[in-house]
């Protein structure tokens, strides 16, 4: 029985590892094809930043997909929030902020403008999430339809706000959020703290398990795992510090990913989410308010779309009418490559992020190789299908 368990455990891990191995394979392939330009710290640093905007959407989309739903509107929603942010900063706030706070310097006014913009944008995201979530969860209109409608509605909103123009300029402080870097010393400090926390958590978990009288794995095993995670963090920080440091948006992404992973794995809400995705009827009959869970997931998705929109505005330093186009497809693609099942009940944030990284790597690598855009689309499409085929085939063999 024990050996069986062990094999079972390893099998689960193999699936996660396949994803990482696939990523490494893609990296090595592009590395050799581009004369190792791909691996220059500058390029890797850019790669991580390129994936961030879609990653915010992928994180939220994972939750949506786990509940057995889909959200096609996130791209348009990101674009909508983005033009609102640009509109606020370029047109609305400059009109009355200086008169309201006449004593402040230009720089301080800019920061204030950015803070107000962020708050309003997040509110807009939450409100749009409430609107869609309510129709899906309580009025029971299929999410595919509601968000397909949302995709059109919000794109219309983009055009309405922008009136066909690109909205500039945005404040430097907003650009700093999306384009800036953490000072290298601060990066090192964060690195050390993170590693300490990793080891402390590992120890804490062993202690708790002991308290409850559960079997614990040998100390060396847990130590090795904690060390592996630490090495990963260390490697990342060393690479990006070799260029300019940790990018602000990447840091935001990591923090959000950790928070949402915690939400999914360690809270009632997360447990209900997975359960209702697996079998909504059984979950309802277990006395769980499934409608409220779905509702909240869409609100969260709206908030994350807003984050993506804010970062997008800072990144391109403008609000554009094409902002966010097709992001929903990249986000869904990332989730699915990362192992989320469109049937619901399965998926992880970590998987979705690796999936998003794979998609971003393909894009980045092919761009360095100067491959025509039409090939880039075709390759990305094929990889998506291949990834799901591999998953389906491995499941068939298991059963």
């Amino acid at each position: 029985m024990k050996t069986l368990n062990f094999i079972h455990k390893i099998k689960i891990d193999i699936r996660t590892y396949t994803l990482i191995i696939a990523l490494l394979f893609i990296w090595l392939l592009f590395g050799s094809l581009t004369g190792w330009i791909f691996f220059y710290p500058r390029n890797l640093s850019n790669l991580f930043r390129q994936m961030t905007i879609v990653s915010f959407l992928s994180i939220g989309m994972t939750l949506v997909i786990i509940t057995g739903n889909i959200d096609l509107s996130v791209g348009s929603m990101t674009g909508f929030v983005s033009v609102i942010a640009a509109h606020l900063q370029a047109i609305m706030l400059p009109k009355f902020l200086p008169t309201l706070f006449s004593g402040l310097s230009v720089e301080a006014l800019g920061i204030l403008s950015t803070i107000i913009t962020i708050i309003i944008c997040l509110l807009v995201g939450v409100l749009l999430g409430i609107y869609q979530g309510y129709i899906i969860a309580y009025l029971r209109v299929p999410s595919f339809i509601v968000t397909l409608g949302g995709m059109l509605i919000f794109r219309g909103g983009v055009l309405g706000v922008a009136r066909g123009r690109t909205i500039v300029p945005v404040e430097n402080s907003l650009r700093w959020i999306a384009q800036g870097y953490l000072p290298k010393n601060l990066g090192i400090l964060l690195l050390v703290l993170t590693i300490i926390v990793i080891y402390l958590m590992s120890m804490q978990s062993r202690k708790k398990k002991k308290q409850y009288g559960f079997e614990i794995k040998p100390f060396s095993y847990d130590f090795l795992i904690a060390s592996a995670y630490s090495a990963l963090v260390l490697g990342f920080v060393l690479i990006v510090n070799n260029y300019r440091g940790i990018q602000n948006p990447v840091l935001i992404m990591i923090v959000i990913a950790i928070l949402v992973t915690y939400l999914a794995n360690n809270t009632k809400f997360g447990r209900y989410m997975y359960a209702l995705g697996g079998n909504i009827e059984a979950t309802k009959l277990s006395g769980i308010n499934v409608q409220s869970v779905v509702f909240k997931v869409f609100i969260l998705m709206g908030a994350l779309s807003a984050v993506a929109g804010i970062v997008l505005t800072g990144y391109v330093a403008a609000g554009t009418i094409g902002g966010g186009t097709n992001y929903e497809l990249s986000a869904i693609g990332g989730c699915v490559i990362g192992g989320a099942s469109l049937m619901g009940g399965k998926g992880t944030i970590f998987g979705a992020l690796v999936g998003a990284l794979i998609m971003a790597s393909l894009e980045n690598g092919m761009s360095i190789m100067n491959m025509s855009v039409f090939w880039q689309y075709i390759v990305k499409g094929l990889v998506l299908i291949l990834a799901v085929y591999v998953d389906v085939a491995s499941k068939k063999n298991n059963s």
Binding site: M1, L4, N5, I7, H8, K208, K209, Q211, Y212, G213, F214, Y262, N266, T267, K268, R271, Y272, Y274, A275, G278, N279, E281, A282, T283, K284, L285, S286, G287, I288, N289, G345, K346, N398
Partner: protein
């Protein structure tokens, strides 16, 4: 006639990851007879017939199978090959398309054509012929979804028979049928036997074996215990072979002392969800005492499941009547409210309504109870696991670990998981909707014992059952339902199978079905 035996199975061994499902299984099946195959859940019956029907290819098992003295080797997914040879299987779960008509279902995948265009005339006239040949009184153009489960089963059998079948395998065909439908099925099987078709019959209801089979092979843990002539054995002997020990009593004796009233239902009515204007249940009144087991008997469609889901707050909105809980009137509008009032429901269909099959065992057990181990911020997983382990041990759930995916457990153990999750919520009233359906004899006995213990501890229990013996053996009182109405409540000492049957069929004079 070449040989006395149509099928010979020699030394068949089949492994699944971690489990040996069949080991060196050998026996022979006589031509033109009905051969019973019995064993507890997980004994290997279904695996064996799936090999015979070509679901598993010949390279996934060891051993040899001879059909008419010729070794058969099916390649991957060759159910079609098996059908061409003349072996077909009718599954426990129906494999028909509910949106299509009877005729379309029977000829699905081999519709008669004229130059590539379906010839509907021929399809329907052929269907009529088949239905007539086997004396099936079903309209050939009816949509399958409008038929009863029993009639659908007949269609499935007709579909198999329409393809010149020599061996027909029936995997638990009666688990969803009413008594009358079962009787009808038995007639058809006898008729088939007369026309020379060999049947392999799997069931959990032993008395059926003694009604129709010629020989019985008993499997236990993937091994053949014995193959015997039905005429030379008894139910007790077969049960002993199945469980590996002598089983003296089918129902454990409880020592219950029902206390004061806990639940009172007055004139409860609910509108039918699928047919507007019709009532699913009509003016039902009863009461339930602490530590009492109230059995509910009735045929499929009598409204028994609708009654308990209405009490549980999950059946429609058009509900009239009053429910009193411990003397106070309550309105229960959802499962959540029911759970908060201390009512738990083990639903009829554990796969669809009871379990999240793709999740781990412990997550299923703790699903309605997570509140107990968590605050707003986190779940105490260690506490959760410890508690789940307690209940898994108490119910002796056979699983490699609590982290095993629930789907891979046997039916009986899955049912135990559903019961475990509701026990953990420490209910005052436990409603069990046909809790032993499709479960083997050994596990059934364990579940009966458990139900007795629970009622001795003061939990009030409502138990629906499709098996008359079970209702009679377990209940203190029996409520019988017919067409949405309560036709009588009998005391245990006054109840007989005949009385219940008469009330359940709505006739005052019981004259058989």
């Amino acid at each position: 006639m070449k040989d006395e035996y149509i099928l010979r199975i020699e030394d068949v061994t089949k492994d699944f990851p971690g489990i040996r499902a069949l080991s060196n299984v050998s026996f022979k099946i006589k031509r033109g007879g009905i051969h019973g195959l019995c064993g507890e859940n997980g004994a290997g019956k279904s695996t064996l017939v799936k090999i015979l029907a070509g679901v598993y290819s010949h390279d996934t098992y060891q051993g040899k199978i001879y059909f008419n003295d010729e070794e058969i080797k099916f390649t991957h997914f060759s159910v079609r090959q098996a059908i061409k040879k003349g072996i077909a299987i009718v599954y426990q779960e129906l494999a028909l398309v509910p949106q299509l008509t009877v005729g379309e279902n029977i000829f699905l995948g081999r519709e008669p054509e004229d130059k590539g265009i379906i010839s509907w005339d021929r399809l329907f006239s052929n269907t009529k012929e088949i239905l007539k040949k086997y004396k099936l009184n079903i309209p050939f153009s009816a949509k399958l979804s409008t038929l009863s489960v029993g009639q659908q089963q007949m269609v499935e059998i007709a579909k198999a028979l329409s393809q010149e079948i020599k061996v027909l395998i029936l995997d638990e065909p009666t688990s969803a049928l009413t008594e009358a439908e079962i009787n009808f099925l038995m007639e058809i099987l006898k008729h088939l036997k007369d026309s020379g078709v060999t049947c392999i019959y799997i069931s959990h209801k032993l008395e059926e074996f003694f009604r129709i089979t010629d020989n019985i092979t008993v499997l236990r843990d993937g091994l053949v215990v014995d193959t015997v002539k039905t005429a030379d054995t008894t139910e007790e002997k077969v049960i002993a072979m199945m469980v590996g020990r002598e089983m003296k009593e089918r129902f454990p004796v409880g020592n219950r002392k029902p206390g004061e009233n806990i639940l009172e239902v007055k004139n409860l009515s609910a509108e039918n969800l699928s047919a507007q204007g019709k009532m699913a249940i009509k003016n039902i009144s009863f009461d339930l005492r602490k530590g009492e087991i109230l059995g509910i008997a009735g045929l499929m469609g009598s409204g028994r499941s609708e009654l308990v889901t209405t009490i549980f707050g999950e059946y429609g909105k058009q509900v009239n009547g009053e429910i009193f809980l411990e003397g106070k009137q309550v309105k229960i509008r959802s499962a959540r409210e029911a759970v908060n009032y201390g009512i738990s429901l083990v639903p009829e269909d554990r796969k669809k309504m009871g379990l999240v099959l793709i999740q781990e065992v412990f997550k299923n057990i703790s699903l309605p109870n997570i509140r107990k181990f968590s605050n707003a911020l986190s779940i105490d997983k260690n506490k959760e696991l410890k508690e789940c382990k307690k209940y898994a041990d108490y119910l002796t759930i056979k699983t490699p670990s609590l982290f095993t995916i629930t789907e891979s457990l046997s039916g009986g153990n899955q049912q135990k998981v559903v019961i475990a999750k509701w026990l953990m919520s420490t209910p005052k009233i436990l409603i069990l909707d046909d809790p032993t359906r499709g479960i083997d004899v050994g596990t059934k006995y364990e579940i009966y014992k458990l139900i007795n213990t629970l009622s001795e501890n003061g939990i009030a229990i409502i138990m629906i059952s499709s098996e008359l013996e079970e209702v009679l053996g377990m209940s203190d009182r029996i409520m019988v339902m017919h067409e949405g109405k309560c036709t009588g409540i009998l005391d245990r000492k006054d109840a007989t199978q005949e009385k219940i049957m008469a009330l359940a069929t709505g006739s005052k004079n019981y004259s058989g079905v």
